[in-house]
């Protein structure tokens, strides 16, 4: 198959800019960005408090002298305390998808919207999109950046959009079939729901014309990719972004599919230890921190994403020079601490996919009946996994438990449940029920 899963095509020559030019451009744009935020009250105050002035930033390394910006800072300055332009220049508002707490608003100028469309076009093209394609977008259209971000990216490439939006899976499948979309855009968990429903409707996935999929907005695993690709007969690409930084388009996979290239001409990335906030050791996981370089309406300086991932600076066969990040393994605020062990829900998912290639419909339930944490993992059974022999069913349950243990180091009680009994999610999946926090709230 060679080193590419599909043709390696580059949308914008800037993606392959030599490193020295890229660093020079980053510094130039960082200085411009700092000038733009100089009058934003939050930054003015934060910089003064940190004893640093924008004029002190003479090299890219000097960035580390600037304070971090957090989600809490955005909330404290709700709704528009971070706006760096007059309201007359704002062309669009979006909001965080509200996965955690109250939404935060972000703003775009006309120029920002154009930049954003270009950034999305880059990863869409690197993941197979061509102007002759039709793209089915099953992301929510609204304050959430996923729908509109991808929509304008597809239009920028010159392809056709089916703005299907979220919900009504059977109708989505009808549209996919009748309009013969080549590319699917949604969350990976929703793709699984689509694959499952296609099966339940008695449709052969090959009746659909899908060739490529672009998934984002939630963490997923390599095993999940293998399963969706096998079930749906397409190539799935990962992309990453968050509304506070711009939305989708911060990074995306190329045809070599060994990490997502961060669009470094528009963002500076850092990877820090979430405890010490010092740079993570090279090749180690850490929290990603982004600084925007071209945003006008709401530039962001050293934004702590709470997303845990790892950076890979090694050269990529595709020719893009942007540093790669691997999959987001979880968020600092998704991380569960169970009997003192750090566990991410994505690890449970990985364990389930290792066992039978089963659809990862699961629910993690954590309680503390006495003094110790206890974990129950509810897993849906599929016809493929069912045996008429009790011993096989018990062995299946035990194997799931063993995989969870080998990946996370914790012991979980596995409960096999009937299919379609766990809640399905159209947007971001909620798969954790933590009774310990309920108790604390009461």
């Amino acid at each position: 198959m060679g080193e590419f899963v599909t043709e390696n095509r580059i949308w914008d020559p800037a993606e392959t800019m030599p490193h020295d030019e890229l660093r020079a451009l980053q510094l130039e744009r960082l200085v411009q960005t700092l000038a733009r935020v100089a009058e934003v009250p939050f930054y003015k105050e934060a910089f003064t408090k940190a004893g640093v002035s924008p004029d002190d930033i003479k090299t890219l390394d000097d960035l580390r002298r600037l304070p971090f910006t957090t989600k809490a800072d955005l909330r404290d300055h709700y709704p528009l305390g971070f706006l760096a332009v007059g309201r007359d220049r704002v062309a669009r508002f979006h909001g965080s998808s509200g996965t955690t707490g109250k939404p935060t608003f972000v703003a775009y100028t006309k120029e920002d919207l154009s930049t954003w469309a270009d950034l999305c076009a880059r990863f869409l093209v690197s993941g197979g999109l061509r102007p002759e394609h039709t793209v089915h977008i099953a992301f929510g259209y609204g304050l959430f950046t996923g729908g509109f971000g991808l929509h304008y990216g597809v239009e920028r490439v010159g392809a056709a959009v089916v703005p299907a939006a979220a919900g009504n899976t059977r109708r989505q499948i009808m549209l996919l079939k009748d309009l013969a979309a080549d590319v699917l855009v949604c969350t990976p968990s929703y793709a699984l729901t689509i694959a499952e429903t296609v099966g339940a409707m008695g449709i052969d996935p090959k009746e659909l014309s899908l060739k490529f999929a672009h998934f984002g907005a939630e963490p997923w695993t390599e095993d999940m990719r293998a399963q969706i690709e096998a079930d749906m007969g397409l190539l799935a690409f990962n992309n990453y972004g968050l509304s506070e930084v711009i939305g989708p388009g911060v990074s995306g996979e190329c045809a070599a599919r060994n990490g997502m290239h961060i669009q470094e001409d528009h963002f500076i990335v850092e990877c820090v230890d979430p405890e010490t906030l010092e740079p993570a050791q090279p090749g180690c996981q850490g929290e990603l921190v982004f600084t925007s370089l071209t945003k006008q309406a709401m530039p962001i300086i050293r934004y702590r994403t709470r997303d845990i991932a790892q950076l890979d600076p090694s050269p990529c066969a595709c020719g893009r020079t942007g540093i790669r990040m691997d999959r987001v393994v979880g968020r600092t605020d998704d991380m569960l601490i169970i009997r003192g062990v750090n566990v991410f829900p994505s690890q449970i998912e990985e364990a389930l996919l290792r066992v039978e290639g089963t659809a990862p419909h699961y629910l993690i339930e954590i309680g503390r009946p006495e003094t110790l944490d206890e974990v129950k993992v509810h897993v849906e059974v599929r016809s493929k996994d069912l045996s008429d022999k009790m011993s096989h069913m018990q062995a299946l349950r035990d194997r799931i438990g063993q995989e969870i243990h080998s990946i996370t180091g914790i012991h979980a009680d596995v409960y096999l449940v009937e299919p379609q009994t766990l809640e399905r999610f159209v947007g971001k999946a909620k798969r954790v029920l933590d009774h310990r926090t309920e108790k604390n709230d009461a």
Binding site: L386, K389, M390, V417
Partner: protein, 145 residues
Amino acid sequence: MKIKQLSVFLENKPGRLSEPCHTLAKAGVNILTLSLADTQQFGIMRLIVKEPEKARDVLTQSGCVVKVTEVVAVEVEDRPGGLADILEIIEAADISIEYMYAFTFGRKDKAALVFRFDDPDKAIDVLQDKGVNVIGGVELYDSAD
């Protein structure tokens, strides 16, 4: 000579058994016999019906997890020692039984035994050699009508 058995996954919760039974009733599928295997947490209901494909389809559509497996049904004298005689033949041939259950059907003084063997073909050969009546699907369903 093998017959089809449906296995249905059930959570061990009140009401779980009646759902698939109602589904079959609505579809007009008569249950010849069933057996239940259960643990504290989940169970497997095994069913013999006249139209296994139809039963599988309606159950699957109603959201059940269903598997069709082949089992061996054997006619046995409905008298003390009837089962013991059959088991003796099976043991002598060194064939393992995963599970079994019994029921009476349309024939007077006869019962049917349903076996899940590790090697069903060998079991059928051995039983027929000894003159045991291994019942095919048609024979079983017709007698039950």
